[in-house]
């Protein structure tokens, strides 16, 4: 209730500012005149009475200002004054102004840059269906503990075992990334692009369908045809976004591949390179089924050793958890499967373990903490810049403080020195009833 009345009086004070001013003036004037009349009645000459009344009242303007303070009007007033004062000093001090703009610009720029990375990497949800269900299965090797030599990849055999045995996952998919050079039919300059061989269920697992055409089908696999899905970017740059791209061949490493689909512009996957020999920077722009033969040798019908009992560890695994399945349950299950495989295939799997990581953590990975720390640092840097500026500013303006409170006190001090401080006494009314 008091809060409401306080707010109301404050609002009234702001809105009816001039009226309040004149009323306040009238009220104080009434006081002085009533006082003077009483003095006249007790025998003082009129002029003298008025003078004494004024003196005894004390600082007229000061009282008014304290009244405004009591109403909270001066907060807004003070802010405006500070603003005007600030603009004035900036105009008078072009050097300081330039410095201030530079320092603040750098501080704000650094904050914006770091925050945009933070947003993209840590805060923004991934553009897949129910991204919180997506995990990566990361293979660890106890022989290389403490060494960063493992890229977490696994063999096709182990992937098939996981997929067969695990029940905490809706589905598992694998991919393998490599660099390609691409030439289109029109004989343009070859361009090095990043591509990925994926299991056919990958797009369904991620919940993203091609913008044009279709995802890989079992039919594509059976015919071992060289089919490829393009990224939106590559489709735009190589085919000018034409619908005719579908069914067209593009030449990859000298071989024709038929375009069967185009992914939507926001689709990006995988993010990290899992291949050593062909490290090409940039995003994946082409997807092909694992079973197609990327090599020149037509006799090699199984380039990835998919059918051999002892596959080479080169695949990364993405898996979708069953809805509401906790990560720990999946981890526990995959641990027992890994233990079983270690007994079954001691030669290759004896030292292997598997970590289930959420996809967003996998992508942000070790960057998460440093990024948060970095954004804190740049924020502090901006604060530091502000403090630095404030001190420079007071130095530049010869010790005059910026805050309204200080200035007001200074104003009052000068005013006080002008008003006579001798205090008289009121006419004696104690005897009057």
């Amino acid at each position: 209730m008091t809060l409401l009345s306080r707010f109301r009086s404050w609002l009234r004070a702001i809105v009816r500012r001039s009226r309040m001013e004149s009323e306040m003036d009238m009220e104080l004037r009434f006081h002085i005149e009533a006082f003077a009349e009483d003095l006249v009645r007790s025998g003082a000459p009129r002029q003298e009475a008025l003078r004494r009344a004024r003196v005894e009242f004390g600082g007229f303007e000061r009282a008014k200002e304290e009244c405004r303070d009591a109403r909270g009007v001066n907060h807004v007033e003070g802010l405006l004054q500070d603003l005007r004062y600030g603009l004035r000093t900036l105009r008078k001090n072009p050097g300081f102004t330039a410095l201030a703009i530079l320092i603040l610009g750098l501080g704000i720029g650094a904050n914006a840059a770091v925050f945009s990375v933070l947003r993209a990497v840590v805060l923004r949800p991934l553009p897949y269906r129910n991204p919180e269900q997506l995990t990566m299965l990361w293979v660890t090797d106890s022989r290389t503990r403490g060494w960063a030599v493992t890229d977490g990849s696994t063999s096709y055999r182990d992937f098939l075992e996981w997929r067969r045995q695990a029940h905490t996952f809706e589905d598992l998919a694998i991919f393998y990334k490599r660099g390609w050079s691409v030439v289109t039919l029109t004989g343009e300059e070859p361009e090095k692009v990043q591509g990925a061989f994926v299991s056919t269920n990958l797009f369904t697992l991620m919940g993203v369908q091609p913008l044009l055409g279709h995802a890989f089908t079992e039919e594509d696999l059976q015919h071992r045809e060289r089919v490829v899905i393009l990224s939106h970017g590559l489709w735009q740059s190589r085919f000018g976004g034409s619908l005719e791209a579908l069914g067209h061949d593009i030449y990859i490493d000298g071989k024709p591949w038929r375009v069967v689909g185009v992914m939507p512009p926001q689709f990006r996957f995988p993010f990290l390179a899992g291949n050593w020999e062909n490290r090409v920077e940039g995003e994946v722009q082409l997807w092909a089924p694992l079973t197609t033969n990327p090599y020149e040798d037509p006799s090699s019908s199984d380039p990835f050793n998919l059918t051999r009992p002892q596959g080479v560890a080169r695949f990364q695994v993405i898996a979708r958890l069953n809805p509401k399945m906790p990560l720990q349950a999946a981890q526990a299950e995959i641990d027992t499967i890994a233990a079983r495989l270690a007994l079954q295939y001691p030669d290759s799997d004896k030292t292997l373990g598997v970590q289930v990581r959420r996809l967003n953590e996998y992508i942000a990975g070790e960057m998460r903490r440093p990024l948060l720390l970095l954004s804190l640092c740049v924020l502090l840097l901006l604060l530091l810049a502000c403090t630095n500026l404030a001190t420079r500013h007071s130095a530049a303006t010869d010790g005059i403080r910026v805050t309204g409170d200080h200035r007001r006190r200074r104003r009052r001090a000068t005013r006080r020195s002008r008003t006579p401080s001798d205090r008289g006494t009121l006419p004696d009314h104690s005897s009057a009833s």
């Binding site: 009220e27 009434f30 009121l426 104690s430």
Partner: protein, 113 residues
């Protein structure tokens, strides 16, 4: 003992509330009323009265309206609100308790310790 006492810090609000609790008064009237009740033994700085009045009104303990003064002039009259009444009561109680304690301490003789 004839010397006037300065109003103690924090007690001015209480005195104003008391003065306007008896009848609606304008600022100058409040000053006179306090003087009268205290038989001239308290001195209030006139300039400090109005900031206190504005503060009390801002807090919702008194309210004001314009009226006619004794000599037919326009004057602003202050009146106690319900909240102000409660406030005055609690302030008075607090003050009495405090005065009692202080008086008790000051009247302590060596034998009582």
């Amino acid at each position: 003992m004839d010397k006037q006492l300065d109003v103690l810090q924090g007690t001015l609000d209480m005195l104003i509330l008391k003065a306007v609790s008896l009848e609606p008064l304008h600022g100058y009237g409040i000053l006179l009323r306090i003087q009268q009740i205290s038989k001239g033994r308290l001195e209030i700085q006139q300039g400090s009265l109005y900031p206190a009045l504005y503060r009390l009104e801002h807090q919702g303990w008194i309210t004001s309206e314009w009226g006619e003064s004794e000599n037919n002039r326009k004057a602003k009259y202050y009146r106690l609100t319900a909240a102000g009444k409660r406030r005055l009561q609690s302030e008075a109680e607090k003050w009495n308790r405090m005065a009692e304690v202080i008086a008790g301490i000051l009247h302590t003789t060596p034998e009582e310790v």
